[in-house]
Assembly symmetry: C2
Homo-oligomer: 330 residues x 2
């Protein structure tokens, strides 16, 4: 029998004016300043019933880049570190790699020489490590790696190298009935095994790059097998395409850190009504890394110029963030 | 200032035993019988805390085919009716169509001759009517058509020809914290303009077939343009692939009506724990249509055999549904 329960519920409704100092600060790791204020003011505007900028909850879509925006990306994209580790793990089964680039250099420990082959070399490494298995096997491999591999600089698990201020921002938006999505150049099946636990973002709200897959019956048992062919690159002009294809609704807020996010920010801000575009600028060489226009990883050049020209919010990591990684808070 | 409001809320919690006759029937348009019971028993099992079959809300993914499962599909797929109407509307701009098949036959009113060209003819019609415009222009065209075009048999808007029992099922599952998705062979951008209003399914929970798109700046304004190239066919073996790619989680319940849904049902039921696979069998020639193994639209042949062999739930529309369309209820 269905039970009817009379519940006394205290609802904290997100309208009725800006959070007063009496209320708990939803973004405690953010320094007071224009960046933080621009976020609070935007959320206030779009959630205030009767405001000309009010947006119904169903349309409160916020999209986040991952590498360099939600977790770190130095000294190399974490997924590339995964791929390199996988090459080493798989090497015993591939004796031919000893005489074949980029694998030969990699196995000798010379990452720079291995990656000198550019996109072609990276593609070969990706396909050798990301294709040929079922989706369930790949998911387990990713989980095992994330649970054990350590970052070369901090000695921390990669999933610990997420940005505390961004975790607060994700929670703050969700508490204001935003639906938070990842829209990243990273592999969608590399991210999904950890995004729910680490960011509170479920698999169905993760958009990313992908290789083609194929459904088949293996000994009568259904399986989805990962193929050595690119399906979709969710980067640069691919980001608005991915947003349209997977989400089907234009975001009202978007968060990135590099030129790979420029088109997503353009697409988001070109919509009608209030919009928030935010760029994380990596300016803290002591607590994290400092890089922008000249970096091969997470280059921020054109998007930085456009942010200034269009008045987008640019986070100065060094000054705007009191804490960067959760493990700093002891 | 945030306002705190003390609210007295009566929560109807979905656990604690099967719905008694005293509680409101969540599926009033369903006749009492094994089909209805299999749905109620499944939901009961996976939502009962402590049950060995309990599934956490985040994993309660249910996927629904659209054509023939949520709305009708006779005498032709509704999206094809849209395409044919668009050919007529666009004909003045295409004088060359008068001498070119399949358009020439179509414009003479001979649909059968036009479609005699098979998949190639259909592809030409689709590309001529679905590509070349921005996504926003296409969305508006779809909305205009859905708001005015009438079904040839019932004279109703196409969006009125949805199945009342399935609307109840969608609501029932959502009230039990299921997340409901569409996984259809239909075009994703054809469905998204109406799924939220008609089914309560938001755009980001619609998986479908798609053509490629391209992001570009048109006079400095961002646009996504629809291209004359197939991106993804979300049918048959494409359905588990689409589920994996867009949702990233295996459904625990899936609902279809044709051989195009067979692999989705296989993939769903091959997961561990309690699963529900349901096929709508069109058996009511009076109130709807009766068709299965020999039909060119929505053929149900192999999936019907497999349903019987594996004990999936098969809905006998004539006997299991008291009401078919909402407009019957007066």
């Amino acid at each position: 029998m269905k039970r009817f329960i009379l519940a006394l519920v205290v609802l904290s409704l997100g309208f009725g004016g800006p959070a007063s100092s009496a209320a708990a600060d939803p973004l405690p790791s953010w320094s007071d300043g224009t960046a933080k204020q621009s976020i609070l003011a935007f959320v206030e505007k779009v959630t205030t019933t009767g405001s000309p900028d009010f947006v119904p909850p169903a349309e409160r879509i916020a999209t986040f880049d991952n590498d360099g925006a939600l977790w770190a990306e130095q000294p190399m994209y974490f997924q590339l570190a995964f791929a390199l580790d996988r090459v080493k793990a798989l090497a015993p089964k591939h004796p031919e790699w000893k005489g074949k680039e980029p694998f030969a250099s990699l196995l000798k420990g010379d990452v720079k020489a291995a990656l000198a082959g550019g996109d072609k070399a990276i593609l070969e490494i990706v396909m050798a490590t990301h294709a040929g298995m079922t989706t369930e096997e790949f998911e387990q491999t990713v989980k095992d790696w994330l649970g054990s591999a350590k970052h070369p600089k901090t000695g921390r698990l990669y999933t610990e190298m997420v940005y505390q201020p961004m975790l607060e921002l994700l929670s703050y938006l969700r508490s204001n009935e935003f639906k938070t999505f990842i829209v990243s150049g990273g592999g969608v099946e590399f991210m999904r095994p950890f995004t729910e636990k680490v960011y509170g973002i479920p698999p169905e709200q993760v958009v990313g790059s992908s290789i083609k897959t194929k459904y088949e019956l293996r000994n009568g048992k259904p399986a989805i097998v990962r193929l050595s062919e690119i399906n979709f690159i969710d980067d640069k002009a691919g980001k608005p395409v991915g947003i349209n294809q997977y989400i089907g609704r234009r975001p009202i807020a978007a968060f990135g850190n590099s030129d790979g996010d420029l088109q997503m920010l353009q697409w988001t801000t070109a919509g009608k009504g209030a919009r928030l575009a935010l760029i994380v600028h990596h300016t803290d060489a002591d607590r994290e890394w400092a890089y922008d226009r000249q970096s091969t990883v997470g280059r921020l050049d054109k998007a930085l110029d456009e942010a200034k020209a269009k008045g987008w919010t640019v986070i100065d990591m060094k000054n705007d963030w009191k804490t960067i990684f959760p493990f700093e808070k002891r």
